[in-house]
Protein backbone atom coordinates (compact mmCIF):
# COMPACT_ATOMS: atom_id res chain seq x y z
CA UNK A 1 0.00 0.00 0.00
CA UNK A 2 1.35 3.38 -1.01
CA UNK A 3 0.09 6.94 -1.07
CA UNK A 4 -0.98 8.90 -4.10
CA UNK A 5 0.82 12.25 -3.93
CA UNK A 6 -0.50 14.85 -6.34
CA UNK A 7 1.83 17.84 -6.30
CA UNK A 8 1.13 21.09 -8.14
CA UNK A 9 -0.45 19.40 -11.13
CA UNK A 10 -1.65 21.63 -13.96
CA UNK A 11 -3.30 20.57 -17.21
CA UNK A 12 -3.65 22.87 -20.22
CA UNK A 13 -5.31 22.21 -23.54
CA UNK A 14 -4.02 24.06 -26.60
CA UNK A 15 -6.86 25.10 -28.88
CA UNK A 16 -6.71 27.27 -31.97
CA UNK A 17 -6.04 30.75 -30.61
CA UNK A 18 -6.72 29.87 -26.98
CA UNK A 19 -5.42 27.84 -24.07
CA UNK A 20 -7.82 26.11 -21.73
CA UNK A 21 -6.43 26.09 -18.20
CA UNK A 22 -8.42 23.10 -16.99
CA UNK A 23 -6.45 22.14 -13.88
CA UNK A 24 -4.25 24.63 -12.02
CA UNK A 25 -1.66 23.83 -9.36
CA UNK A 26 -3.64 21.06 -7.69
CA UNK A 27 -2.00 19.29 -4.75
CA UNK A 28 -3.72 16.47 -2.90
CA UNK A 29 -2.64 13.39 -1.00
CA UNK A 30 -4.72 10.22 -0.77
CA UNK A 31 -3.77 7.52 1.70
CA UNK A 32 -4.95 3.91 1.99
CA UNK A 33 -8.05 3.63 4.17
CA UNK A 34 -9.24 7.11 3.21
CA UNK A 35 -12.05 8.47 1.06
CA UNK A 36 -11.48 11.89 -0.46
CA UNK A 37 -14.31 13.64 -2.29
CA UNK A 38 -13.50 16.15 -5.00
CA UNK A 39 -16.54 18.39 -5.38
CA UNK A 40 -17.38 21.31 -7.64
CA UNK A 41 -19.72 22.20 -10.48
CA UNK A 42 -19.51 20.46 -13.83
CA UNK A 43 -16.76 21.87 -16.02
CA UNK A 44 -14.46 22.82 -13.13
CA UNK A 45 -11.73 20.31 -14.05
CA UNK A 46 -12.50 17.34 -11.79
CA UNK A 47 -12.66 14.74 -14.55
CA UNK A 48 -9.60 16.18 -16.33
CA UNK A 49 -7.57 15.64 -13.15
CA UNK A 50 -8.68 12.00 -12.97
CA UNK A 51 -7.88 11.49 -16.66
CA UNK A 52 -4.40 12.94 -16.11
CA UNK A 53 -3.69 10.40 -13.35
CA UNK A 54 -4.56 7.51 -15.66
CA UNK A 55 -2.98 8.83 -18.85
CA UNK A 56 -6.32 9.35 -20.58
CA UNK A 57 -5.76 12.94 -21.72
CA UNK A 58 -6.08 13.81 -25.41
CA UNK A 59 -3.02 14.69 -27.52
CA UNK A 60 -3.35 18.46 -27.20
CA UNK A 61 -3.01 18.35 -23.40
CA UNK A 62 0.11 19.58 -21.60
CA UNK A 63 0.69 18.60 -18.01
CA UNK A 64 3.08 19.89 -15.40
CA UNK A 65 3.74 19.03 -11.76
CA UNK A 66 3.94 15.53 -10.42
CA UNK A 67 1.59 12.72 -9.40
CA UNK A 68 3.45 9.92 -7.68
CA UNK A 69 2.03 6.53 -6.82
CA UNK A 70 4.74 4.91 -4.72
CA UNK A 71 7.80 5.40 -6.89
CA UNK A 72 5.92 5.62 -10.19
CA UNK A 73 5.53 9.09 -11.70
CA UNK A 74 2.10 8.83 -13.33
CA UNK A 75 2.41 11.93 -15.50
CA UNK A 76 5.64 10.69 -17.15
CA UNK A 77 4.73 7.00 -17.42
CA UNK A 78 4.36 5.55 -20.91
CA UNK A 79 1.03 4.22 -22.05
CA UNK A 80 2.47 0.69 -21.98
CA UNK A 81 3.61 1.10 -18.39
CA UNK A 82 0.23 2.49 -17.34
CA UNK A 83 -1.63 -0.29 -19.15
CA UNK A 84 0.45 -3.13 -17.71
CA UNK A 85 1.07 -1.97 -14.15
CA UNK A 86 -1.30 0.84 -13.14
CA UNK A 87 -4.74 0.85 -14.77
CA UNK A 88 -7.06 -1.70 -13.20
CA UNK A 89 -4.22 -3.11 -11.05
CA UNK A 90 -3.33 -0.18 -8.81
CA UNK A 91 -5.95 2.39 -9.81
CA UNK A 92 -9.46 1.32 -10.79
CA UNK A 93 -11.70 3.79 -12.62
CA UNK A 94 -15.46 3.87 -12.50
CA UNK A 95 -16.21 6.15 -15.46
CA UNK A 96 -18.97 8.71 -15.74
CA UNK A 97 -22.24 7.26 -17.19
CA UNK A 98 -21.08 3.62 -17.05
CA UNK A 99 -23.74 2.32 -19.45
CA UNK A 100 -22.08 4.16 -22.33
CA UNK A 101 -18.65 2.72 -21.45
CA UNK A 102 -19.72 -0.91 -21.77
CA UNK A 103 -19.32 -2.64 -25.12
CA UNK A 104 -22.87 -2.77 -26.48
CA UNK A 105 -22.46 -6.03 -28.42
CA UNK A 106 -21.17 -8.17 -25.57
CA UNK A 107 -22.79 -9.37 -22.36
CA UNK A 108 -21.68 -8.06 -18.99
CA UNK A 109 -20.24 -11.49 -18.23
CA UNK A 110 -18.04 -11.62 -21.30
CA UNK A 111 -16.62 -8.15 -20.52
CA UNK A 112 -16.02 -8.96 -16.87
CA UNK A 113 -14.36 -12.28 -17.68
CA UNK A 114 -12.06 -10.60 -20.18
CA UNK A 115 -11.01 -8.03 -17.56
CA UNK A 116 -10.50 -10.82 -15.00
CA UNK A 117 -8.31 -12.77 -17.44
CA UNK A 118 -6.12 -9.75 -18.27
CA UNK A 119 -5.85 -8.59 -14.66
CA UNK A 120 -5.60 -12.04 -13.02
CA UNK A 121 -8.76 -11.40 -11.06
CA UNK A 122 -11.75 -13.48 -10.06
CA UNK A 123 -14.81 -12.51 -12.14
CA UNK A 124 -17.35 -14.37 -10.00
CA UNK A 125 -16.04 -12.85 -6.78
CA UNK A 126 -16.00 -9.33 -8.22
CA UNK A 127 -19.58 -9.77 -9.46
CA UNK A 128 -20.81 -10.97 -6.07
CA UNK A 129 -19.02 -8.16 -4.31
CA UNK A 130 -20.66 -5.61 -6.61
CA UNK A 131 -24.09 -7.11 -5.88
CA UNK A 132 -24.63 -8.72 -9.29
CA UNK A 133 -26.57 -11.98 -9.57
CA UNK A 134 -25.53 -14.48 -12.28
CA UNK A 135 -28.65 -13.75 -14.36
CA UNK A 136 -27.71 -10.06 -14.54
CA UNK A 137 -24.36 -10.96 -16.03
CA UNK A 138 -25.94 -12.59 -19.05
CA UNK A 139 -27.57 -9.33 -20.11
CA UNK A 140 -26.34 -6.94 -22.76
CA UNK A 141 -25.72 -3.32 -21.70
CA UNK A 142 -29.02 -2.07 -23.18
CA UNK A 143 -30.88 -4.60 -21.03
CA UNK A 144 -29.36 -3.23 -17.83
CA UNK A 145 -31.00 -0.50 -15.75
CA UNK A 146 -28.82 2.44 -14.67
CA UNK A 147 -28.26 0.87 -11.27
CA UNK A 148 -27.25 -2.48 -12.77
CA UNK A 149 -24.88 -0.86 -15.31
CA UNK A 150 -23.29 0.96 -12.37
CA UNK A 151 -22.72 -2.35 -10.58
CA UNK A 152 -21.14 -3.85 -13.69
CA UNK A 153 -18.81 -0.85 -13.87
CA UNK A 154 -17.95 -1.34 -10.19
CA UNK A 155 -17.20 -5.03 -10.75
CA UNK A 156 -14.98 -4.14 -13.73
CA UNK A 157 -13.09 -1.54 -11.68
CA UNK A 158 -12.62 -3.91 -8.73
CA UNK A 159 -11.78 -7.17 -10.50
CA UNK A 160 -8.02 -6.42 -10.53
CA UNK A 161 -8.14 -5.53 -6.83
CA UNK A 162 -6.67 -2.00 -7.18
CA UNK A 163 -5.93 -0.19 -3.95
CA UNK A 164 -7.21 3.14 -5.24
CA UNK A 165 -10.62 3.53 -6.79
CA UNK A 166 -11.49 6.68 -8.73
CA UNK A 167 -15.27 7.00 -9.06
CA UNK A 168 -16.36 9.75 -11.46
CA UNK A 169 -19.90 10.94 -10.68
CA UNK A 170 -21.04 7.43 -9.74
CA UNK A 171 -24.33 8.57 -8.19
CA UNK A 172 -25.74 10.53 -11.13
CA UNK A 173 -29.12 9.23 -12.22
CA UNK A 174 -29.49 6.68 -9.45
CA UNK A 175 -32.27 6.99 -6.93
CA UNK A 176 -31.54 7.46 -3.24
CA UNK A 177 -31.65 3.80 -2.23
CA UNK A 178 -29.21 2.81 -4.97
CA UNK A 179 -26.94 5.74 -4.12
CA UNK A 180 -26.89 4.78 -0.46
CA UNK A 181 -26.13 1.14 -1.32
CA UNK A 182 -23.30 2.18 -3.63
CA UNK A 183 -21.77 4.57 -1.11
CA UNK A 184 -21.93 1.92 1.62
CA UNK A 185 -20.05 -0.39 -0.74
CA UNK A 186 -17.34 2.27 -1.22
CA UNK A 187 -17.17 2.76 2.52
CA UNK A 188 -16.60 -0.99 3.03
CA UNK A 189 -13.72 -0.84 0.53
CA UNK A 190 -12.19 2.08 2.42
CA UNK A 191 -12.57 0.26 5.74
CA UNK A 192 -10.77 -2.69 4.12
CA UNK A 193 -7.77 -0.43 3.51
CA UNK A 194 -8.52 0.75 -0.04
CA UNK A 195 -8.56 4.42 -0.97
CA UNK A 196 -11.45 6.05 -2.84
CA UNK A 197 -11.36 9.32 -4.76
CA UNK A 198 -14.99 10.28 -5.24
CA UNK A 199 -15.52 12.89 -7.94
CA UNK A 200 -18.97 14.35 -7.59
CA UNK A 201 -21.24 17.38 -7.61
CA UNK A 202 -23.48 15.63 -5.09
CA UNK A 203 -22.64 17.18 -1.72
CA UNK A 204 -24.95 14.81 0.11
CA UNK A 205 -23.03 11.83 -1.27
CA UNK A 206 -19.70 13.41 -0.37
CA UNK A 207 -20.94 14.13 3.12
CA UNK A 208 -22.09 10.54 3.59
CA UNK A 209 -18.81 8.77 2.97
CA UNK A 210 -15.87 11.13 2.56
CA UNK A 211 -13.23 11.59 5.26
CA UNK A 212 -11.99 14.71 3.54
CA UNK A 213 -13.59 16.99 0.97
CA UNK A 214 -11.68 19.06 -1.57
CA UNK A 215 -13.66 21.84 -3.24
CA UNK A 216 -12.58 22.73 -6.76
CA UNK A 217 -13.37 25.98 -8.52
CA UNK A 218 -12.12 26.97 -11.99
CA UNK A 219 -9.48 24.23 -11.96
CA UNK A 220 -8.08 25.05 -8.52
CA UNK A 221 -8.65 23.51 -5.11
CA UNK A 222 -10.00 26.38 -3.03
CA UNK A 223 -10.67 24.49 0.18
CA UNK A 224 -9.80 21.06 1.55
CA UNK A 225 -10.39 19.62 4.97
CA UNK A 226 -12.32 17.17 7.12
CA UNK A 227 -15.72 16.48 5.50
CA UNK A 228 -17.95 17.74 8.30
CA UNK A 229 -15.93 20.96 8.64
CA UNK A 230 -15.96 21.78 4.93
CA UNK A 231 -19.72 21.28 4.67
CA UNK A 232 -20.70 22.54 8.11
CA UNK A 233 -18.27 25.39 8.52
CA UNK A 234 -16.83 26.27 5.12
CA UNK A 235 -14.12 28.91 5.05
CA UNK A 236 -14.09 29.70 1.33
CA UNK A 237 -17.06 31.82 0.17
CA UNK A 238 -17.55 29.49 -2.82
CA UNK A 239 -17.65 26.35 -0.65
CA UNK A 240 -20.00 28.14 1.73
CA UNK A 241 -22.26 29.24 -1.13
CA UNK A 242 -22.36 25.71 -2.54
CA UNK A 243 -23.31 24.21 0.82
CA UNK A 244 -25.96 26.88 1.40
CA UNK A 245 -27.49 26.25 -2.03
CA UNK A 246 -28.62 22.78 -0.92
CA UNK A 247 -32.40 22.40 -0.79
CA UNK A 248 -32.24 21.50 2.92
CA UNK A 249 -30.44 24.80 3.59
CA UNK A 250 -31.09 28.20 1.95
CA UNK A 251 -31.72 26.85 -1.59
CA UNK A 252 -30.27 30.08 -3.00
CA UNK A 253 -27.78 30.10 -5.88
CA UNK A 254 -24.35 31.71 -5.82
CA UNK A 255 -24.76 34.82 -8.00
CA UNK A 256 -22.99 34.92 -11.38
CA UNK A 257 -21.29 32.24 -13.42
CA UNK A 258 -17.89 30.55 -13.24
CA UNK A 259 -15.19 32.17 -15.40
CA UNK A 260 -14.19 30.74 -18.75
CA UNK A 261 -11.19 28.45 -18.41
CA UNK A 262 -9.68 30.16 -21.47
CA UNK A 263 -9.74 33.53 -19.77
CA UNK A 264 -9.07 33.16 -16.07
CA UNK A 265 -8.50 36.29 -14.00
CA UNK A 266 -4.98 36.80 -12.63
CA UNK A 267 -6.22 37.04 -9.07
CA UNK A 268 -8.79 34.96 -7.24
CA UNK A 269 -11.05 33.33 -9.86
CA UNK A 270 -14.06 33.57 -7.55
CA UNK A 271 -13.64 37.28 -6.75
CA UNK A 272 -16.07 38.55 -9.47
CA UNK A 273 -18.88 36.54 -7.81
CA UNK A 274 -17.82 37.12 -4.22
CA UNK A 275 -19.47 39.64 -1.91
CA UNK A 276 -16.41 39.61 0.36
CA UNK A 277 -13.96 40.59 -2.40
CA UNK A 278 -11.71 43.62 -1.98
CA UNK A 279 -8.65 45.00 -3.79
CA UNK A 280 -6.42 42.34 -2.24
CA UNK A 281 -8.33 39.65 -4.18
CA UNK A 282 -6.66 40.84 -7.38
CA UNK A 283 -3.69 38.90 -6.09
CA UNK A 284 -4.00 35.14 -6.32
CA UNK A 285 -4.56 33.58 -2.89
CA UNK A 286 -2.40 30.59 -1.92
CA UNK A 287 -3.86 27.44 -0.37
CA UNK A 288 -2.87 27.43 3.31
CA UNK A 289 -0.95 24.52 4.73
CA UNK A 290 -3.15 23.27 7.56
CA UNK A 291 -5.54 20.39 8.21
CA UNK A 292 -8.47 22.50 6.99
CA UNK A 293 -6.84 24.53 4.21
CA UNK A 294 -8.37 27.40 2.26
CA UNK A 295 -7.20 29.60 -0.62
CA UNK A 296 -8.83 32.92 0.22
CA UNK A 297 -7.65 36.33 1.41
CA UNK A 298 -10.85 36.92 3.33
CA UNK A 299 -12.06 33.51 4.57
CA UNK A 300 -15.49 33.30 6.21
Amino acid sequence: MVNLEIDRVSVRFALKGATVEAVNDVSLRIRPGECVALVGESGCGKTVLASALLGFLPGNAETSGSARLGDVELLDATDHELATTIRGRQIGLIPQSPASHLTPVRTARSQLEEAARVLDGDAARAATRAGLAPEHLDRYPHELSGGMAQRVANALALVGDPWLLIADEPTTGLDRDLVDGLLDEFRRLVDDGHAVLLITHDLAAAHRIADRIAVMYAGRIVEVGPAHEVLGDAKHPYARGLANALPERDFLPIPGQPPLLTNLPDGCAFAPRCDQATAICEERPVLTDDEHAVACHRPC
Binding site: E41, G147, D175, R176, D177, H201, A245, P247, G256
Partner: protein, 210 residues
Protein backbone atom coordinates in the same frame (compact mmCIF):
# COMPACT_ATOMS: atom_id res chain seq x y z
CA UNK B 1 -65.09 28.69 -19.85
CA UNK B 2 -63.40 25.45 -18.80
CA UNK B 3 -61.03 25.58 -15.85
CA UNK B 4 -57.37 26.05 -16.88
CA UNK B 5 -55.68 22.86 -15.75
CA UNK B 6 -53.51 19.99 -17.03
CA UNK B 7 -54.89 16.60 -16.06
CA UNK B 8 -54.06 13.01 -16.78
CA UNK B 9 -56.88 10.63 -15.89
CA UNK B 10 -56.53 6.86 -15.58
CA UNK B 11 -53.27 6.79 -17.56
CA UNK B 12 -51.99 3.32 -18.44
CA UNK B 13 -48.90 3.53 -20.58
CA UNK B 14 -45.70 1.75 -21.44
CA UNK B 15 -43.71 0.18 -24.21
CA UNK B 16 -45.40 -3.09 -25.26
CA UNK B 17 -46.02 -3.84 -21.55
CA UNK B 18 -47.59 -1.23 -19.28
CA UNK B 19 -45.11 0.57 -17.04
CA UNK B 20 -47.73 2.63 -15.23
CA UNK B 21 -51.32 1.58 -14.61
CA UNK B 22 -54.26 3.89 -13.92
CA UNK B 23 -52.31 6.96 -12.81
CA UNK B 24 -54.18 10.24 -12.40
CA UNK B 25 -52.50 13.58 -11.92
CA UNK B 26 -53.55 17.24 -11.94
CA UNK B 27 -51.37 20.31 -12.41
CA UNK B 28 -53.06 23.65 -11.76
CA UNK B 29 -51.80 27.02 -12.97
CA UNK B 30 -49.18 28.54 -10.73
CA UNK B 31 -48.80 25.25 -8.88
CA UNK B 32 -45.77 22.95 -8.72
CA UNK B 33 -46.54 19.25 -8.45
CA UNK B 34 -43.71 16.89 -7.57
CA UNK B 35 -43.62 13.35 -8.95
CA UNK B 36 -41.46 10.91 -7.01
CA UNK B 37 -40.86 7.19 -7.00
CA UNK B 38 -38.05 4.65 -7.29
CA UNK B 39 -36.15 3.79 -10.46
CA UNK B 40 -38.40 2.03 -12.93
CA UNK B 41 -41.66 3.17 -11.34
CA UNK B 42 -42.67 5.00 -14.52
CA UNK B 43 -42.03 8.64 -13.60
CA UNK B 44 -40.57 9.44 -17.00
CA UNK B 45 -43.34 7.58 -18.80
CA UNK B 46 -45.96 9.70 -17.02
CA UNK B 47 -43.92 12.81 -17.92
CA UNK B 48 -43.78 11.79 -21.58
CA UNK B 49 -47.54 11.17 -21.71
CA UNK B 50 -48.38 14.53 -20.11
CA UNK B 51 -45.87 16.25 -22.41
CA UNK B 52 -47.77 14.64 -25.32
CA UNK B 53 -44.62 12.83 -26.42
CA UNK B 54 -45.95 9.33 -25.82
CA UNK B 55 -49.39 7.89 -26.51
CA UNK B 56 -50.90 6.04 -23.55
CA UNK B 57 -52.62 2.64 -23.97
CA UNK B 58 -55.63 4.10 -22.18
CA UNK B 59 -56.65 7.16 -20.21
CA UNK B 60 -56.98 10.78 -21.25
CA UNK B 61 -54.95 13.95 -21.03
CA UNK B 62 -56.81 17.24 -20.88
CA UNK B 63 -55.25 20.64 -21.32
CA UNK B 64 -57.31 23.61 -20.22
CA UNK B 65 -60.50 21.68 -20.90
CA UNK B 66 -59.48 20.29 -24.31
CA UNK B 67 -59.07 16.51 -24.52
CA UNK B 68 -55.87 15.61 -26.30
CA UNK B 69 -56.51 13.41 -29.33
CA UNK B 70 -53.09 13.17 -30.98
CA UNK B 71 -49.65 12.63 -29.52
CA UNK B 72 -46.13 13.48 -30.70
CA UNK B 73 -46.22 15.41 -34.00
CA UNK B 74 -50.01 15.09 -34.18
CA UNK B 75 -50.56 16.96 -30.93
CA UNK B 76 -52.09 20.36 -31.58
CA UNK B 77 -51.45 21.49 -28.00
CA UNK B 78 -47.76 20.61 -27.89
CA UNK B 79 -46.53 24.21 -27.82
CA UNK B 80 -48.49 24.82 -24.63
CA UNK B 81 -46.21 22.42 -22.79
CA UNK B 82 -42.48 22.89 -22.28
CA UNK B 83 -40.22 19.97 -21.39
CA UNK B 84 -36.80 19.72 -19.77
CA UNK B 85 -34.91 16.44 -19.70
CA UNK B 86 -32.30 14.90 -17.45
CA UNK B 87 -29.42 15.00 -19.91
CA UNK B 88 -29.08 18.33 -21.70
CA UNK B 89 -26.38 16.82 -23.95
CA UNK B 90 -28.90 14.44 -25.49
CA UNK B 91 -31.50 17.14 -26.02
CA UNK B 92 -29.54 19.73 -28.02
CA UNK B 93 -28.34 19.30 -31.61
CA UNK B 94 -24.54 19.16 -31.20
CA UNK B 95 -24.08 21.31 -34.34
CA UNK B 96 -26.07 24.24 -32.95
CA UNK B 97 -24.58 27.09 -30.99
CA UNK B 98 -26.45 27.83 -27.76
CA UNK B 99 -27.93 30.88 -29.53
CA UNK B 100 -29.34 28.67 -32.30
CA UNK B 101 -30.62 26.13 -29.75
CA UNK B 102 -32.54 28.82 -27.86
CA UNK B 103 -33.92 30.23 -31.13
CA UNK B 104 -34.99 26.77 -32.34
CA UNK B 105 -38.67 27.02 -31.33
CA UNK B 106 -38.86 30.09 -33.57
CA UNK B 107 -38.46 33.06 -31.31
CA UNK B 108 -36.71 36.37 -31.82
CA UNK B 109 -36.30 36.80 -28.07
CA UNK B 110 -32.97 35.01 -27.73
CA UNK B 111 -31.22 37.81 -25.83
CA UNK B 112 -34.11 38.25 -23.44
CA UNK B 113 -34.38 34.49 -22.81
CA UNK B 114 -30.63 34.12 -22.38
CA UNK B 115 -30.75 36.94 -19.85
CA UNK B 116 -33.50 35.16 -17.97
CA UNK B 117 -31.33 32.04 -17.47
CA UNK B 118 -28.17 34.12 -16.92
CA UNK B 119 -26.23 33.02 -19.99
CA UNK B 120 -23.81 35.72 -21.06
CA UNK B 121 -22.90 36.81 -24.59
CA UNK B 122 -19.75 34.80 -25.16
CA UNK B 123 -21.36 31.51 -24.12
CA UNK B 124 -24.19 31.95 -26.63
CA UNK B 125 -21.75 31.54 -29.52
CA UNK B 126 -20.45 28.21 -28.21
CA UNK B 127 -21.54 24.72 -29.15
CA UNK B 128 -22.70 22.13 -26.59
CA UNK B 129 -19.29 20.42 -26.25
CA UNK B 130 -17.72 23.77 -25.30
CA UNK B 131 -19.96 24.40 -22.28
CA UNK B 132 -20.66 22.59 -19.01
CA UNK B 133 -23.80 20.55 -18.28
CA UNK B 134 -25.07 23.37 -16.11
CA UNK B 135 -24.66 25.97 -18.84
CA UNK B 136 -26.28 23.68 -21.41
CA UNK B 137 -29.24 22.99 -19.13
CA UNK B 138 -29.68 26.78 -18.77
CA UNK B 139 -29.93 26.98 -22.57
CA UNK B 140 -32.47 24.14 -22.55
CA UNK B 141 -34.58 26.02 -20.00
CA UNK B 142 -34.42 29.18 -22.15
CA UNK B 143 -35.54 27.10 -25.15
CA UNK B 144 -38.37 25.51 -23.16
CA UNK B 145 -39.66 28.94 -22.13
CA UNK B 146 -39.36 30.48 -25.63
CA UNK B 147 -42.99 29.86 -26.56
CA UNK B 148 -44.29 30.84 -23.10
CA UNK B 149 -45.74 27.42 -22.27
CA UNK B 150 -48.71 27.19 -19.92
CA UNK B 151 -47.16 24.10 -18.33
CA UNK B 152 -43.57 23.03 -17.82
CA UNK B 153 -42.54 19.42 -17.27
CA UNK B 154 -39.11 18.91 -15.70
CA UNK B 155 -37.97 15.29 -15.89
CA UNK B 156 -35.00 14.91 -13.49
CA UNK B 157 -33.86 18.32 -14.71
CA UNK B 158 -31.30 18.77 -11.92
CA UNK B 159 -29.61 15.35 -11.95
CA UNK B 160 -26.48 16.59 -13.72
CA UNK B 161 -26.32 19.90 -11.85
CA UNK B 162 -24.49 21.11 -8.76
CA UNK B 163 -26.42 22.57 -5.83
CA UNK B 164 -25.97 26.20 -6.88
CA UNK B 165 -27.08 25.67 -10.50
CA UNK B 166 -30.06 23.63 -9.25
CA UNK B 167 -31.13 26.47 -6.97
CA UNK B 168 -30.62 29.00 -9.79
CA UNK B 169 -32.75 27.11 -12.34
CA UNK B 170 -35.54 26.42 -9.84
CA UNK B 171 -35.45 30.16 -9.09
CA UNK B 172 -35.85 31.01 -12.81
CA UNK B 173 -38.80 28.63 -13.09
CA UNK B 174 -40.48 30.08 -10.00
CA UNK B 175 -40.10 33.61 -11.36
CA UNK B 176 -41.60 32.49 -14.69
CA UNK B 177 -44.53 30.92 -12.82
CA UNK B 178 -45.13 34.11 -10.89
CA UNK B 179 -45.14 36.17 -14.09
CA UNK B 180 -47.27 33.85 -16.27
CA UNK B 181 -49.14 31.59 -13.83
CA UNK B 182 -47.72 28.47 -15.49
CA UNK B 183 -48.11 25.07 -13.84
CA UNK B 184 -45.05 22.88 -13.26
CA UNK B 185 -44.62 19.12 -12.96
CA UNK B 186 -41.26 18.41 -11.27
CA UNK B 187 -40.00 14.85 -11.45
CA UNK B 188 -37.12 13.84 -9.21
CA UNK B 189 -35.86 11.01 -7.07
CA UNK B 190 -34.47 13.58 -4.65
CA UNK B 191 -37.05 13.81 -1.86
CA UNK B 192 -35.27 16.71 -0.17
CA UNK B 193 -35.39 18.73 -3.39
CA UNK B 194 -39.10 18.05 -3.99
CA UNK B 195 -39.96 18.85 -0.38
CA UNK B 196 -38.43 22.29 -0.96
CA UNK B 197 -39.57 22.85 -4.53
CA UNK B 198 -43.06 21.37 -4.94
CA UNK B 199 -46.35 22.43 -3.38
CA UNK B 200 -47.45 18.79 -3.24
CA UNK B 201 -45.84 15.51 -4.27
CA UNK B 202 -47.37 12.46 -5.90
CA UNK B 203 -45.50 9.22 -5.30
CA UNK B 204 -45.47 6.29 -7.72
CA UNK B 205 -44.90 2.87 -6.20
CA UNK B 206 -42.17 0.42 -7.18
CA UNK B 207 -42.83 -1.62 -10.32
CA UNK B 208 -44.15 -5.14 -9.79
CA UNK B 209 -41.50 -7.77 -10.65
CA UNK B 210 -41.94 -9.19 -14.14
Amino acid sequence: MPPPVLTGTGITAGYRHPVVTDVSLTVRPGQTVGLAGPSGSGKSTVARVLALLHKPFSGTVEIDGETVTGYRFQAAQRTRIGVLFQQPRLSVDPRFTLRQAIAEPGGDRVEELADLVMLTGDLLGRRPHEVSDGQLQRACLARALALEPRYLICDEMTTMLDASTTAALVGVIRAYQERTGAGVLAISHDATLLARWADETVRLSAPPPR
